[in-house]
Amino acid sequence: MEKYEKLEKVGEGTYGKVYKAKDKATGQLVALKKTRLEMDEEGVPPTALREVSLLQLLSQSLYVVRLLSVEHVDGGSKRKAAAAAAAEGGGGEAHGGGAVGGGKPMLYLVFEYLDTDLKKFIDSHRKGPNPRPVPAATVQNFLYQLLKGVAHCHSHGVLHRDLKPQNLLVDKEKGILKIADLGLGRAFTVPLKSYTHEVVTLWYRAPEVLLGSAHYSIGVDMWSVGCIFAEMVRRQALFPGDSEFQQLLHIFRLLGTPTEKQWPGVTTLRDWHVYPQWEPQNLARAVPSLGPDGVDLLSKMLKYDPAERISAKAALDHPFFDSLDKSQF
């Protein structure tokens, strides 16, 4: 890890800290993510092996943030561990539990660095010196790239499960959007709180997850894509709940309280309660600047029954994208 010079902490990934760093040899900017590699008596754990290699394969796509390198830091080596600790910035926040340099094997994932993310991008259009709508062409273009990336992951059997604007990196100059924070869902269980005890956002979470469904599939990501689509148009979150219960109420107030007829089995989900009976509102009113094709696509992403929700692959063929020049992708 001596190869990289840590510049600043840029974020709190779900699985640990993320640093902006510079490759000392080439000057290339990178994002460094650190995860602990728990060894067992059978050597490198199979879950970590399968997931990092999956990430390595998926990140070859243009629509997924590129994994440039995987660096293992041997916990047994004091010198290397100390160097890694130095790269950490000496904040004394090593979450290995033991003393810094005390020797837990670590894995550093080195990703390409993009200058901003979709959250900051949307924020810059909502507030600041020059508030303005996100151009319709940009919404269309970003949504298409997002769907390309999601379709790519799904075709490899991978659910993202935490799609949100902060996880979508953006290159403003080139108009590129890429999915980040992907794939480490099995070996590294999804925590409810991140390492700084920031509450993980619920705004993009699908109703079946909020209702405690034991089985979920590609629909969870498509729900998130719908929320992100609406947020690009509105410049504010569609369902900004601050607890799981409030999150559901936000959803129900707009889309109506789900019924067994709409969504067979909903009332038998683990966390289902009796809710106020809201009637569905006109979705177009929540996204006033969006045309009818856009509203139609959005409504298909926000279907209550996960089985009815549109897939990423089908969404790419939706008429909303008819006016997009697809040859650029």
Partner: protein, 297 residues
């Protein structure tokens, strides 16, 4: 819809939106040109004997396991040796590399075997977990954790779908025979230079020539008209593949006469009648299927 998250041999299927992807990345999972040149060069047989020894060790270690496991392990070895040239390595180094690559492949394929099981072939050195772990990490670092190798098996379904085969038993037989040829082709250093997709397409052509010669010409034009396939390279590979294909098909018993071909458990698989061979490969395919099914339940 459920997923087959754990299958490292990524496969084309109906859900695949972007068929170009595997073709774009397949070259990342191949041995280097330099390494292959070393294997082929006349004066430098060291590389070749190192590879042959390791392949033979892996075959011993995997003798009762799914042949795709040894295929994957040998792929790791070839890619590892592409970056680390071993100069007259001690036998235990070769064995440690073989054991570690088998252990990694077994983890990737979710084959439930322990390190003790892997090493129970009576082949001498028994390594402790720490040594194997260090070797595993060395291999992982060298391969940059790209352990989901894109192999020819990833492309079989795609090419079979181009062949408009209406008869399911024939389709199954061609797949099975092509899989055997692919396994066999890994022993032939002449064939290592071809991309996995070309190897898969050639193996399917070889299989169809054996099993349904009347349709062969149509299949050849179906596959060569695919935009991802370079027709000249395909034919080159197809011609080079003759040995691998006929060895398994006809003269299975004299595998030892081919000096370049290491003794391999696969040869033993093929030391049986043609119909049995088809059964062996077909049951391999079936067992992978049933494994998939179990996972998705």
């Amino acid at each position: 819809m459920d997923f087959d998250l754990e299958n490292p041999l990524t496969n084309f299927d109906d859900r695949f939106p972007d068929k170009t992807f595997l073709f774009l990345v397949e070259s990342d999972h191949m041995p280097s040109e330099k390494y292959l040149a070393g294997l082929r060069s006349v004066g430098c047989s060291d590389d070749l004997s190192v590879r042959r020894d390791i392949v033979s060790l892996i075959s011993q270690l995997c003798c009762n396991l799914d042949p795709t496991l040894s295929y994957l392990a040998i792929n790791y070895v070839d890619r590892f040796l592409s970056s680390h040239k071993l100069q007259r390595p001690k036998p235990w180094v070769l064995r440690l590399l073989a054991v570690s690559c088998v252990a990694l492949a077994a983890k990737m394929l979710k084959t439930e075997i322990s390190l003790a099981d892997v090493q129970s072939d009576g082949g001498g050195f028994i390594f402790d977990a720490h040594s194997i772990q260090r070797m595993e990490l060395l291999v992982l670092g060298t391969l940059q954790w790209r352990m989901r190798s894109i192999t020819p098996f990833c492309f079989i379904s795609f090419f079979v779908s181009l062949l408009k085969l209406r008869d399911p038993p024939l389709r199954q037989a061609i797949r099975a025979r092509a899989s055997e040829i692919i396994l066999k082709a890994q022993n032939d250093i002449k064939l290592l230079e071809f991309k996995p997709s070309i190897t898969a397409a050639s193996a399917l052509l070889r299989a169809s020539q054996e099993l349904c010669p009347l349709q062969f010409a149509t299949f050849k034009s179906d596959i060569s008209s695919c935009s991802f396939v370079n027709k000249d390279i395909l034919l080159h590979c197809y011609n080079e593949m003759q040995d691998a294909a006929t060895e398994g098909f006809e003269s299975a018993l004299d595998v030892h006469s081919s000096s370049d071909t290491p003794i391999n458990v696969l040869d033993h698989h093929f030391s049986c009648s043609d119909s049995e061979m088809t059964n062996v490969a077909a049951s391999t395919v079936r067992s992978q299927r049933s494994l998939k099914r179990r996972k998705t339940q």
